[in-house]
């Protein structure tokens, strides 16, 4: 019997989760909670344990140790009513190729007590025109959108998206993001795993980074890894002659790739002002001048590198 879940309780509570496959430990004491309506991205390199973690959350795998509660139930012993409240888009496309898009979506809709309208869902994923097409005749990106349609057809309270936009072209990816944003606006709790860090940055309220089976960061995208405190990068290209004139301390502090010079600073205003003065004084043009905050990818690589180094 499902417990009644109050709006203030986390809808997902994972405590000290461990998963072993024989002698190999894939997940080593992962803990986190997710509140109703949150979009949480679980990131990590291949083999980090994120797929094991997500598959335990989805009820496909049993854990070795730890506790887990989703919508008041243990997913491994989940009831039908629990499954009706959870939607999934699995990592790989898993569709009957010989069926038509419309009949497949309708067949799934009839499994759920509070399903969305099949036409509305096909419209959301931009497959209305393909309703009568055989699934096997669709492109890979279109098939992935059918996967997404099947994930949301049951009108779930929680949606697991396992690399949902793999194989999408940029237009299709942005269209998928729009669907996820719309579902978020409706209050849907979403657990997203992805290798596209831009996707996590755009969609997620929170990022959980798993490396070597452990959570190494759990924060908002803007805060993860102390992102805001990391140095700003100033980059520009100088003519070769001007490059030789570059004074210290810039000369030794800079990273120089071909003629592209990159400086990292925590005092961007002063540094940039001094650089522009030097440029005017020596008539050294700063080609392709850019000032950029460290990206999520920079932070991700740094955190993963640190965590792997500590192993």
């Amino acid at each position: 019997m499902a417990k009644l879940d109050s709006p203030h309780q986390p809808v997902i509570a994972v405590n000290n989760l461990v998963k072993k496959y024989g002698r190999r430990t894939a997940v080593r004491g992962v803990s986190f909670t997710i509140q109703r309506g949150e979009v949480v991205a679980i990131l990590g390199p291949n083999g980090a344990g994120k797929t094991s973690t997500v598959e335990i959350l989805e009820g496909y795998r049993n854990r070795t140790a730890g506790s887990i509660e989703i919508l008041g139930e243990d997913p491994w012993h989940a009831s039908r009513s629990w499954r009706a409240r959870v939607g999934m888009v699995l990592q790989s496309t898993s569709l009957d190729p010989q069926l038509r898009v419309g009949e497949l979506v309708t067949m799934y809709a009839r499994l759920y007590p509070h399903a969305r309208d099949a036409g509305e869902v096909l419209d959301m994923v931009n497959l209305t025109k393909e309703r009568g097409s055989q699934v096997g005749h669709l492109s890979g990106g279109q098939q992935r959108r059918v996967d997404l349609a099947l994930g949301i057809i049951g009108n779930p309270d929680i949606l697991f998206l396992d690399e949902p936009t793999t194989g999408f072209d940029p237009v299709a990816r942005h269209a998928c993001w729009d669907v996820i944003k719309r579902l978020r606006a409706e209050g849907l709790t979403t657990v997203l795993t992805t290798h596209y860090l831009e996707e996590a940055q755009v969609l997620a309220d929170r990022i959980i980074l798993i490396v070597a089976g452990k959570v190494v960061a759990d924060a908002k995208p803007a805060d993860i890894g102390g992102q805001q405190r990391l140095a700003t990068r100033i980059a520009f290209t100088l003519d070769r002659a001007a490059g030789n004139l570059l004074p210290e301390p810039w000369k030794s502090a800079a990273h120089i790739n071909d003629e592209r010079i990159e400086l990292e600073t925590n005092d961007v205003t002063s540094e940039l002002s001094a650089l522009l003065s030097w440029s005017r004084k020596h008539k050294a043009a700063l080609h392709n001048l850019t000032v950029s905050q460290p990206s999520l990818e920079d932070v991700y690589l740094k955190l993963v590198g640190q965590a792997e180094h500590q192993q």
Partner: protein, 250 residues
């Protein structure tokens, strides 16, 4: 909030879904319709219309059709669905497991009976035998029982099959020797007694014997021992499936 879709409705949907899959997989339909017919035509070509073994051959062809469709086609389809991740997705939905398997078994049994119906019509044409309306029902009941038994065995052996590339080889290695040693097309009299005793315990000979006797005697025949053997294999198939079946590839 806990109200669920009635299981019987889901079972009916799964039956329709499985029928659609079978219809759209042309190979399944073709094998269902053609294999028993081809066997009947082959024996007719070799032995002629007046051969004394005609009824045995018709019974054998029907048995072979049951096994090829309810066992081989069914298990091949399950392995493919497992390998494609379709079963994993279904398992993550609120679909009751029994509805899926019952729907699939019902669909495969219907296809088996359709194939048998075509074979019976052809047999009426090519042989100088008459299959009366009175024995049609018992014949189809036997075919239905055989189809249910063999589809549960098919579900049970799916665990043995690593992937789709090996499914036909493994399945054929199971059903072909059984058909050959079970006296489906040739009498068992030439085989040692101990082998005859053993093969009677497998769910091939009871089906062939029931069909052959019904055709010979022109009235329903299904012995208690045959029924018990089919039932025992069905129960065994269900138990093995419940304990070993995996919804995704290892």
């Amino acid at each position: 909030m806990n109200k669920q879709v009635p299981s019987l409705r889901i079972f009916a949907d799964q039956f329709v879904y499985s029928c659609r899959l079978l219809i759209t997989s042309k190979l399944g339909v073709l094998s269902a319709a053609l294999v028993p017919v081809l066997v009947i035509l082959a024996f007719h070509y070799v032995g002629g219309a007046e051969n004394e073994n005609n009824l045995q051959n018709v019974a054998g062809a029907l048995t072979m059709g049951i096994i090829m469709i309810a066992f081989a086609t069914h298990a091949t389809g399950l392995v493919a669905a497992r390998d494609q991740g379709i079963l994993k997705r279904l398992h993550g939905s609120p679909l009751p497991e029994w509805c899926y398997f019952a729907g699939r078994t019902a669909a495969i049994s219907l296809l088996t009976m359709l194939g048998a119906g075509i074979a019976i019509v052809i047999a009426n044409f090519v042989y100088t035998i008459t299959i009366t309306f009175a024995i049609t029902l018992p014949i189809f009941v036997t075919i239905l029982l055989g189809a249910i038994t063999w589809s549960t065995i098919g579900t049970a052996v799916v665990r043995l099959i690593r992937d789709s590339s090996t499914s036909q080889t493994i399945l054929t290695a199971i059903w072909l020797p059984l058909i050959l040693v079970s006296g489906v097309f040739f009498p068992l009299s030439g085989e040692p007694n101990w082998l005859q005793d053993i093969v009677k315990l497998f769910p091939v000979e009871p089906i062939t014997e029931s069909l052959a006797r019904t055709l010979h005697n022109n009235h329903a025949y299904l012995s208690v021992s045959s029924l018990t053997i089919l039932l025992a294999w069905t129960v065994l198939g269900v138990i093995v499936s419940l304990t070993t079946f995996k919804w995704e590839r290892s």
